[in-house]
Symmetry: C3
Subunit: 270 residues, 3 copies
Amino acid sequence: MERSYEEGLIAILTDFGDIDNYVAVMKAVIMKENRRVKTLDISNNVLPFSIISGSYLLYTSYKYFPSGTVFLAVIDPGVGSDRKALIVKAGDWFFVGPDNGIFWPIIEENFSQAEAYSISIEKSDLRNISSTFHGRDVFAPIAARLAKNGDPGFFGDPLNLESLSKLSLIKMQKDGAYICFEIIHKDVFGNVVLSSKGKILSIMGKDVEVLKKSDNKKYIFKNVPTFSLLEENELAIYENSFGFLELAKNKGNLFADYGFKIGEKVCLKK
Amino acid sequence: MERSYEEGLIAILTDFGDIDNYVAVMKAVIMKENRRVKTLDISNNVLPFSIISGSYLLYTSYKYFPSGTVFLAVIDPGVGSDRKALIVKAGDWFFVGPDNGIFWPIIEENFSQAEAYSISIEKSDLRNISSTFHGRDVFAPIAARLAKNGDPGFFGDPLNLESLSKLSLIKMQKDGAYICFEIIHKDVFGNVVLSSKGKILSIMGKDVEVLKKSDNKKYIFKNVPTFSLLEENELAIYENSFGFLELAKNKGNLFADYGFKIGEKVCLKK
Amino acid sequence: MERSYEEGLIAILTDFGDIDNYVAVMKAVIMKENRRVKTLDISNNVLPFSIISGSYLLYTSYKYFPSGTVFLAVIDPGVGSDRKALIVKAGDWFFVGPDNGIFWPIIEENFSQAEAYSISIEKSDLRNISSTFHGRDVFAPIAARLAKNGDPGFFGDPLNLESLSKLSLIKMQKDGAYICFEIIHKDVFGNVVLSSKGKILSIMGKDVEVLKKSDNKKYIFKNVPTFSLLEENELAIYENSFGFLELAKNKGNLFADYGFKIGEKVCLKK
């Protein structure tokens, strides 16, 4: 990898919000371990406890980052249980966080170049570990040292990839004349991301019938490449800028106005 | 300009929010183009699609930044249309973003030292441009290169300033015994910024009658220099710290409590 | 102190939110004064005007930061009054901000190694000071210079510690069979922090009766070390990761669901 580890980069993804000091304290711990490393927030406002939404944000981000970047991803409702603490190397990037499935889509995409390690408290000489904040006490110091050292073997023991928690961002199911997907993310504008690549739209017509499974309501969405082709408040379906299938209400908030929920089923008529 | 371009600064203003990875991915693209540049968020929580509020935030910020700073301002409901992609040089600062009027107040203030360029995809050798996220695919890489190179002519073709989209932060209109303004911004405390400089208060008395045009309700606001002269929940009108005319409810939220809206007309009795 | 002042660190805590340009303009002022200093946000979303919540966040953060860090803490409803502008040195850290009590718990903890100074506008040669934004005009430039210079005496005059505003994060009161505390903070998950160290739980049983004083409702909270021992929506009381007493609804939002308020009294049955 080209970059010097002396000036490494740690990219942070959490559901810790921006009211508290949780993220700042992780960054302070990082600075104490490794004064030269830079940190960059991907998002600290992942929907609380939503591994799937966090996984989508991480998966659609990682390739834009310099090789050698350490991703510190802490969405950790299982803190204090016996869930593993992971280091993953996939392609040219490192990933540190609890074993909750969030890294799986990236591991799959880099399967032949992926390795996983279970963080060892002893090997890493970590101390004063609290019961509820491993982001600060385990994952931040390991990320900081990894950004300097680049060798996961120093901090943990190899794991079989098959033993990791799994999760998929691509899910589809036939249902009569429909293909059904799950909502995996909503963005700041209220746009709704479905569990599919956007390429599926090439087999759809100009108008797509969308079935909101929870209340069986049907809507027509326009199959368009970009927003500038729409009237205000018109409904659109398109491939988003990360290649996923997305629904939106132009200059409106689809998620709020139509009462969608993360995890809900949404079906398209072929 | 004094600073070395090797350690340039990019200041970011968007309506991309802090839930998604949009801003982080722009920063990752910037780091890949220009490893040494620093980024600083002005705000990524501009009211969605509100060019006027974004323009106010940019206009009241830019002079505090070091000369040579590149401002990356992406509020882009017109993405995918034929709206131009701009580089503006005004005074000692650079501005990059869609042509939506947001830069106009700064151009006006530096008119004799302002230049504008239309970003050329070919000249800049930009590739894989999506239909919906030019912040990542056009504006971020151009900002990163400009922070290194400092010469807009490398990335685009000169434009006549008069051909740009225009917008004004100062708007006033006589209406009988009143002077009417528009609400151009509300801040985190619910304070309401009007389309006027605050100096107008010098011709007003100690108590100012304020007419909320939408429902014709009238209120008395105290003309004061600072909050410490007010009781809790007292209404105040004053010159804010950026020189604009502002209304507030002391330790309360005027915008929410009185049902104001961005763009709404508010009139003062002379 | 070990670090070089040339690459100092300023940690920022405010209630300025993330919609406006207030924090960015403070950072721009800092960069102009001291190009090499780093800034790190602890939180800019402290509950508006809540000194107690800000004090909790600062107190539970400062020890994680490198020695020499300058904390810039601006929650300033008294701006424009004659409240003092402070520099505090406590242990190996510096603190800059209005005299509102926010630093007191840290001063108490480092009493024999604490000094306080009243910022002198003349000594510091500060100019163009607005009536409403001393974060930008006073505190940011002083923090930037202090991060370079390390000597508070350059910028102000010594104060007797006893003359400072005071505030305590630990408050308890007997009330019959109960011990009563105040709510001093709620976190992003809706967890509720009480004005006590968590060690008090060692004298409690497995189930703790909690009295919400405002409406005299009683609830049973489970006394547990970590969330993984709970069912979804179960109520828990525990020592949080910063050593304070905390209440939570597992994977739910206790604060919102049970209508708690900052400052409200909550009592535990012994």
